[in-house]
């Protein structure tokens, strides 16, 4: 294979990688692939508004064809998610198929299917990474956003993985206003299982838009997070998602750049290709893997991705002294809060985001995705953050003595 993206005349020769990446790559460095919209949980901040399976989801054969294509394009690993990917009956088959075709898999799960047997199977498999989602270091904080019992499910999976001798598994945390004060507790919890901590940024994507005002970290929390990352960054993974914090001073380790459509993208369960996992909206839809030419053609030839593969040259941010550090922040965060894409990130640490949010038209309707697979009926253990009463998992869970300290 030789490089196929046109060597645009304005692409610099040599120089920093971050400048090269703005012009895109022949294939993603790694991409996110959501295998299903089905999920046993109903997290209030779900980035993909998951819940119900979509009848148009890729079949096993179609998913295998995507893997074949990723192998040909030398995409060396994919981040698999959902929905809850392990509820797909062919999940374990597709995992083996990908590994057998030189496409490594890192999958995110709430832990529902990771019993002792599966944990042992994973521990025996090279080239697979597991990350268990947890959004509170305590059941109280976690279950308020992920649902009653989800902390217990996740920690049981962690125990099973540790007991099976699995190496390098991850605990994946989305940093919110509720858990931002628990970073040391997350680190301690993760160390206890011999796992690695991964923390990522909360975006107003999917159902996250509904709770973003309440859950996104405050400016003070962002400064604490930045200090914590500078002190602990070498032991903690971040998916390079906090690059907007780099405008506070020293750059954080990793790639400080929006990779959407340039070095990353999303393949959703029905095969639609979006610029990034946080941008499930028709404005960021580049094509479908079922189209003629498959994923490769979408990645290399879509007009949308060609548009994204340019450095930002205009807009308010380019005049800011910190632009080289934060590069204007997260495209999805701006879009779903109704801010212009060439202006500040809503969480701009220099305070320009708050000003921009305050200056929005009163009658502005923020963009919403038409893709919504949220559960329509009640879900067992449904999170209560929004004030929806939770459904007891068993009738006897609602004991008249519940909550009484009888000691």
């Amino acid at each position: 294979m030789t490089a196929v993206l046109p060597a645009r005349s304005d692409r610099p020769v040599g120089g920093r990688l971050v400048d090269q990446f703005e012009y895109g790559l022949d294939a993603p460095i790694c991409l996110t692939w959501e295998l299903t919209y089905a999920c046993n949980l109903a997290c209030v901040h779900c980035l993909s508004s998951s819940g119900r399976r979509d009848p148009r989801e890729l079949s096993t054969a179609e998913a295998e064809a995507v893997i074949d294509e990723l192998q040909r394009m030398q995409v060396f690993y994919v981040n698999v998610g959902g929905g809850e990917p392990t509820v797909r009956p062919d999940f374990w088959h597709l995992l083996d198929y990908a590994i057998g075709h030189d496409v490594g898999v890192k999958f995110s799960t709430n832990g529902i299917k990771l019993d002792k047997a599966r944990a042992q199977q994973l521990a025996r498999t090279d080239y697979v990474d597991v990350q268990i989602s947890l959004d509170g270091a305590t059941a109280e904080v976690n279950d308020a956003v992920r649902g009653t019992g989800s902390f217990a499910t996740a920690t049981r999976a962690l125990e099973n993985l540790a007991e099976a001798g699995m190496k390098d598994f991850k605990v994946s945390v989305v940093v919110t206003r509720e858990n931002a004060g628990q970073l040391d507790d997350f680190k301690a919890l993760t160390d206890r299982y011999g796992a690695q901590l991964r923390i990522t940024r909360f975006r107003p994507s999917g159902r996250g838009a509904d709770v973003w005002d309440r859950l996104h970290p405050t400016q003070a929390q962002q400064r604490e997070l930045y200090a914590w990352l500078l002190a602990n960054g070498d032991q903690v993974l971040t998916g390079d998602s906090f690059f907007h914090l780099s405008a506070l001073g020293e750059s954080l380790p990793g790639l400080n750049l929006c990779g959407a459509g340039r070095v990353v993208c999303l393949i959703d369960p029905v095969g639609d290709v979006y610029a990034c996992p946080f941008a499930i909206h028709e404005n960021f839809l580049a094509g479908n893997v079922r189209d003629e030419g498959g994923f490769q053609r979408v990645w290399q030839s879509s007009e949308l991705f060609a548009d994204l593969r340019n450095p930002q040259t205009g807009g308010a941010c380019t005049k800011c002294a910190h632009f080289d550090a934060c590069r204007g922040g997260c495209m999805a965060a701006k879009f779903f809060t109704g801010l212009p894409l060439d202006g500040p990130d809503p969480e701009c640490v220099q305070g320009y985001g708050e000003t921009a949010l305050a200056a929005r038209d009163l009658d502005l309707v923020t963009p919403r995705s038409s893709v919504d697979h949220s559960h329509k009926g009640p879900v067992r253990g449904q999170p209560t953050l929004l004030g929806i009463p939770s459904i007891p998992s068993k009738i006897c869970d609602e004991s008249p003595l519940a909550g009484l300290d009888l000691r």
Binding site: L17, Y23, D26, Q74
Partner: protein, 99 residues
């Protein structure tokens, strides 16, 4: 991660025979190449096409220095390329070849 795939790091000796590590793949990119090690799952980048040619052809020449000469790397550029190869050796992307 396979523990067997992590031999101890080697000092880089440009007068020795080298090759691209057997578990490493190169993916061409407009700026150079992406380098991936299937054993330790490390990702790296080659920032020039000449460096790509050097890494690809290490196995065809008796020494790393001979490879640099064959790929047209000038005397003046050589220290930068030796340093790049030393970095690749440290991250196990290239390995010593037995003659």
């Amino acid at each position: 991660m396979s523990p067997a795939a992590a031999p101890p790091a080697v000092e880089f000796d440009a007068s020795a025979p080298w090759q691209k590590a057997r578990s490493v793949a190169l993916r061409p990119e407009p700026f150079g190449a992406l380098v991936y090690h299937f054993g330790n799952r490390k990702l790296s980048f080659l920032k020039s096409r000449t460096l790509v040619a050097v890494v690809e052809s290490l196995a065809d020449h008796p020494t790393a220095t001979a490879t640099l000469v064959a790929c047209g790397v000038t005397e003046a550029q050589r220290p930068a390329y030796v340093k790049a190869l030393a970095d690749l050796a440290r991250s196990q992307m290239i390995e010593r070849r037995t003659a």
